[in-house]
Amino acid sequence: MNSQSPSRYANSAILIHWLTALLIFVAFPLGKYMHDLPLSPQKLELFSYHKWLGITVLLLFLPRLLVRMAKPPPTALPAPAWQHIAANVTHALLYLLILLVPLSGWLMSSAKGVSVVYLGLIPLPDMVDKNKELGSLLRNFHEALSTGLFVLVALHLAAAIKHHVIDKDGTLRRMLPGRNV
């Protein structure tokens, strides 16, 4: 095994990848569910949990970037060129959206006049002044962006399963902890 071109993702990269995925898998349905609830203490609690999950996704972005620079991903496995392009485009968009979805949520909260207090402990600064119209505009942005994220994750997931089940290659395994490929 040579250190210049590892055959699998670094453990730190794997940890952050799955942690982010897990957070999004909870935050997304929670966002859909809480939105339709009648106003209640439970709704206020769920809104807060949703925000904390989402801000955690945002917080993981910087370490993720640093890890990627320190430990570059393994070279792509052999596949048709269009698949490499599709994978690269999807990954780039996923990176963009795990940044934009929580940012739009944070902006929306500020515009709606509800500051974010992370974990109920750390007040985050308001990104914009209170403004109802901007608030509902950002709400629509947040919904559209998270729908985009949902679609991309579905594609990404389908590709991962396809590689694992049909091509039977190491694509998924090298993003899983433990065994070497």
Binding site: P41, L44, F47, G113, V114, V116, V117, G120, L121
Partner: protein, 194 residues
């Protein structure tokens, strides 16, 4: 001294006299505000009441004789969202159909030194009355006087937020009520105009 400056001095003297014996009793509602602040899931939130009526008599040279009555139209609440406004009008919150207004009636006013005072009185909301003390400042501003003060109440003392809303983890029990009242004076000595 020119006659002009003498006239000016005389004017100043008269103004000082009026100001010192002025009783502020004409509340300018459009310049006044009644707002509130509370914590929701640890997040500081605020809102205001659009309609309220304040009657007061306040002579800074005789604060002990001052009095104030406040009547707040609870249906005029602005919580920031229409969903919130509808919710707090309901039975579990203000039940504003049955109890349309919150009232405050002063029983005494005390000077605390400098421009600081303290008003004591009864606050009645949703059929419950609680003794309340509100410190405030009074500052002359041109011909008007400005009262700024705040008091913190516990919403559960008035059963504001019953049932699941009694959970103070979601909406804190402490609610700060802030008032900014602008009033002008009708000099007490002036004969009432017809």
């Amino acid at each position: 001294m020119s006659s002009l400056s003498r006239l000016f001095l005389l004017g100043l003297l008269c103004m000082a006299k009026v100001a010192s014996s002025a009783e502020f009793n004409q509340v300018q509602h459009e310049k006044s505000s009644v707002s509130f602040g509370y914590k929701q899931m640890g997040v500081a939130m605020d809102g205001k009441f659009r309609k309220f009526v304040v009657n007061l008599n306040f002579d800074p040279s005789k604060p002990a004789t001052a009095n104030a009555q406040v009547d707040i139209d609870l249906a005029s609440i602005d919580t920031g969202t229409s969903e919130g406004d509808d919710e707090v009008a309901g039975k579990q919150w203000f039940n504003s159909k049955a109890f349309p207004s919150a009232k405050f009636a002063s029983t005494s006013v005390k000077a605390l030194g400098a421009d600081r005072y303290e008003v004591t009185g009864k606050l009645s909301i949703k059929g419950k009355s609680v003794d309340a003390i509100a410190p405030f400042t009074f500052k002359p501003q041109g011909p008007a006087g400005v009262f700024d003060g705040a008091l913190t109440i516990k919403r559960l003392d008035f059963a504001i937020g019953e049932g699941p809303w009694a959970d103070v983890g979601a909406v804190a029990n402490e609610v700060q009520i802030k008032f900014h009242i602008v009033a002008t004076a009708l000099p007490t000595t002036a004969a009432p105009k017809k």
